[in-house]
């Protein structure tokens, strides 16, 4: 029987050459690792677990001393209280959630619509002082938002954007556009420009080529970037508390914070509202988890 060249030169199956003692030690190590990680996870996740517990405890169990870890009655009343007012009808808190959805959603869409074409242009075209422009764009993210909140507050009051959803949408968009441009430029760089060249030779205009060939290949990147932008807008607290004053405009983060204070704090309600607030972010992150990793490690390996 003839032996193929590949077979003749193949090194054969790889065997485990480690001595048995070494392997046993390996297994012991795994046990220790798992134990340490479990303890760490418990410590890190305790606040979250406690929040979940609090949200499903009845009020007397919430305030019980010593604290009740396991033997309490489960109730979903707090979650109902988040959305339904005591006299029936929606609560102001549910209005805040709706505001958050509108503000975060619209600002994310705006940032994507503005940022993706800009990223494409920066990636594809030779622009004067491109590096300086990109650095300038990035530099707007250098300072913490709280630094600019007072000037923004004064400006907004002048132009009538104070305590409006539009005002929040604009400021979140302004913060998300630089991020979108930088993140998307990396993704656009990864899509070979030749696709567009080939499409243009086939008779499409540059914009059509972008729309028909590059954009579909960018969709995963756009999804990841948009989720980051969405999470930023959704979680944002400083601008939200400074630039809003009425319940009609207030977004969820300052609204939930507003529940704390006064003579008594309804911790069950706070916990339930916090969980409702955290869920969308968790779900979105889970949906795009692959792309989040791709986005973070992008450019680490050259083609």
């Amino acid at each position: 029987m003839a032996v193929s060249v590949d077979k003749a030169v193949s090194p054969g199956p790889v065997r485990d050459h480690r001595p048995p003692g070494r392997r046993r030690r390996g297994r012991g190590r795994v046990v220790i690792e798992v134990a340490v990680l479990a303890v760490l996870a418990a410590v890190m996740l305790f606040p979250v677990l406690w929040m979940i517990e609090t949200s499903i405890k009845e009020n007397r169990d919430v305030y019980a001393i010593p604290a009740k870890f396991f033997d309490f009655t489960i109730t979903l009343d707090h979650f109902k209280d988040v959305f339904v007012a005591s006299g029936g009808g929606p609560t102001t808190l549910s209005g805040s959630f709706l505001n958050s959805v509108v503000v975060a959603g619209v600002s994310t869409v705006l940032a994507t619509v503005l940022g993706v074409p800009a990223a494409w242009a920066y990636s594809r075209f030779s622009v004067k002082a491109k590096k300086d422009q990109l650095f300038f764009i990035l530099s707007t993210r250098f300072m913490p938002p709280v630094v600019v909140v007072i000037p923004i507050f004064l400006m907004y009051r002048q132009v009538g954007l104070f305590d409006t959803k539009l005002g929040l949408i604009l400021i979140y968009t302004a913060f998300n556009v630089p991020f979108t441009i930088w993140m998307m430029k990396g993704f656009v760089d990864e899509v070979p420009a030749e696709y567009e060249d080939a499409a243009m030779l086939d008779g499409y205009t540059r914009l059509q080529a972008f729309w028909k060939f590059t954009l579909p290949l960018l969709l995963p990147g756009i999804a990841a970037t948009a989720v980051f932008a969405l999470i930023f807008s959704w979680n944002e607290f400083v601008f939200a508390i400074f630039l809003t004053s009425s319940d009609a405009v207030r977004t969820a983060p300052p609204a939930i914070a507003g529940l704390i204070g006064g003579t008594t704090v309804d911790w069950g309600l706070v916990a339930a509202a916090s969980i409702v607030f955290a869920l969308p972010v968790l779900v979105f992150s889970y949906l795009v988890r692959k792309h989040l990793v791709a986005g973070v490690t992008l450019g680490a390996v050259r083609r």
């Binding site: 622009v127 070979p192 030749e194 696709y195 060249d197 008779g203 579909p216």
Partner: protein
């Protein structure tokens, strides 16, 4: 089909880099024209300007009788093959081929007929129903070629189409492209940095450097009489030996005394450099007739030939190509003599061919 005229092409990017300084090309109808040069010499930019993917800063481009300066790439009726094949990833081979035809709005029957013809020419057969990610590099390149020729364009533009293939496949594809171009008779402009590719493919070769054309000629012309020191040092592997010479008693003599047959009309009033191909020199036993004393610095046994690096007392060592049967040990004292015809001679200061 059409020839291509490029006149006084100049391309400067907004950031100030000049990619093409000044390029004039006159490419004949049906010619396989190769643009050769190191990276950054402007060859790809010139090609992209012909394709309409870059807008030149100044200068004119004619394809056939049409001035195409203001035409979009799609209106120029040309096809281009890229180094990265740019097959649409979401389309099967068949649809990749049909795509440009459908974009033109051809009737379905004709699209199918042309796709079948291109598939037959490039022997795509069973690849027609696969998507690009299931094709090997060589197969992708064949599909890219088929996609170019399915359009029956007036000219093919090739931007280093074989660079990403492994050496063996590259040689095969080279033959295939040359054969195809001969059969179709379509004008082809081929950009490469690989001189072997350029020499074996081109009817004519343009050597570009720093955004200028250094020389245009047939492969043999370019090999035998490089028009400048740059071309002399660029073409050939190993390249020409550049030996400083003076005219003395009817010969060209190097400082070491090596005598070369002079070409006619050598100017006497300039400092000269002779370009001597490695095969125009010979390593001999020491003291052989017409030889100067020299020493073997190193030897590369390549199987079918040996390249000797020889020190003959000049500033630069020379490389000599010898039969594999002629063996000298490293460091051995030997003789060196010139056996070829008159070498091209260059002016050191202008770097141009003077005789």
């Amino acid at each position: 089909m059409a020839g291509i005229e490029v006149t006084t092409l100049h391309k400067r990017y907004p950031d100030g880099t000049v990619a093409v300084e000044h390029v004039d090309l006159s490419i004949g109808d049906g010619e396989l024209f190769v643009m050769l040069g190191p990276s950054g010499c402007g060859k790809t930019t010139t090609l992209r300007a012909i394709a309409g993917l870059e807008r030149q800063t100044s200068g004119d481009i004619h394809i056939g009788d049409t001035l195409v300066n203001d035409l979009s790439p799609g209106e120029r009726d040309i096809a281009m093959v890229f180094q990265f094949y740019a097959l649409y990833p979401h389309l099967r081979t068949r649809d990749n081929l049909a795509f440009p035809l459908r974009a033109e709005g051809l009737p379905k029957a004709e699209v199918e007929e042309r796709v079948a013809e291109a598939a037959r020419l490039m022997r795509l057969g069973e690849l027609l129903d696969r998507r690009p990610h299931r094709l090997s590099g060589g197969e992708q390149q064949r599909v890219a070629l088929a996609r170019a020729l399915v359009r029956r364009p007036r000219a093919f533009l090739m931007d280093e189409p074989l660079t990403n293939l492994d050496a063996e496949l590259r040689a095969d594809m080279r033959t295939e492209i040359k054969h195809l171009q001969g059969e179709l008779g379509t004008t082809m402009v081929y950009v490469t940095h690989d001189q072997v590719e350029a020499m074996s493919l081109g009817h004519r070769i343009a050597i570009l450097n720093k955004g200028r054309v250094e020389q245009i000629g047939t492969p043999l012309e370019v090999y035998d009489r490089p028009a400048s020191l740059f071309c002399a040092a660029f073409i050939g592997s190993p390249p020409m030996n550049l030996i400083e010479v003076e005219v003395a008693d009817g010969k060209l003599r190097s400082k070491s005394g090596l005598a070369l047959t002079p070409p006619p009309n050598v100017p006497r009033d300039r400092s000269l450099v002779a370009g001597v191909r490695p095969e125009a020199l010979e390593v001999t036993e020491p003291g052989a007739e017409g030889s100067v004393p020299a020493r073997v610095v190193s030897a590369e046994w390549l199987g079918d030939e040996i390249i000797y690096v020889v020190d003959h007392g000049d500033q630069r060592d020379v490389r000599v190509r010898m039969e594999p049967t002629v063996r000298f040990a490293a460091d051995a004292p030997v003789g060196l003599r010139h056996t070829g015809g008159p070498p091209p001679v260059y002016d050191v200061s202008t770097e141009e061919l003077v005789a």
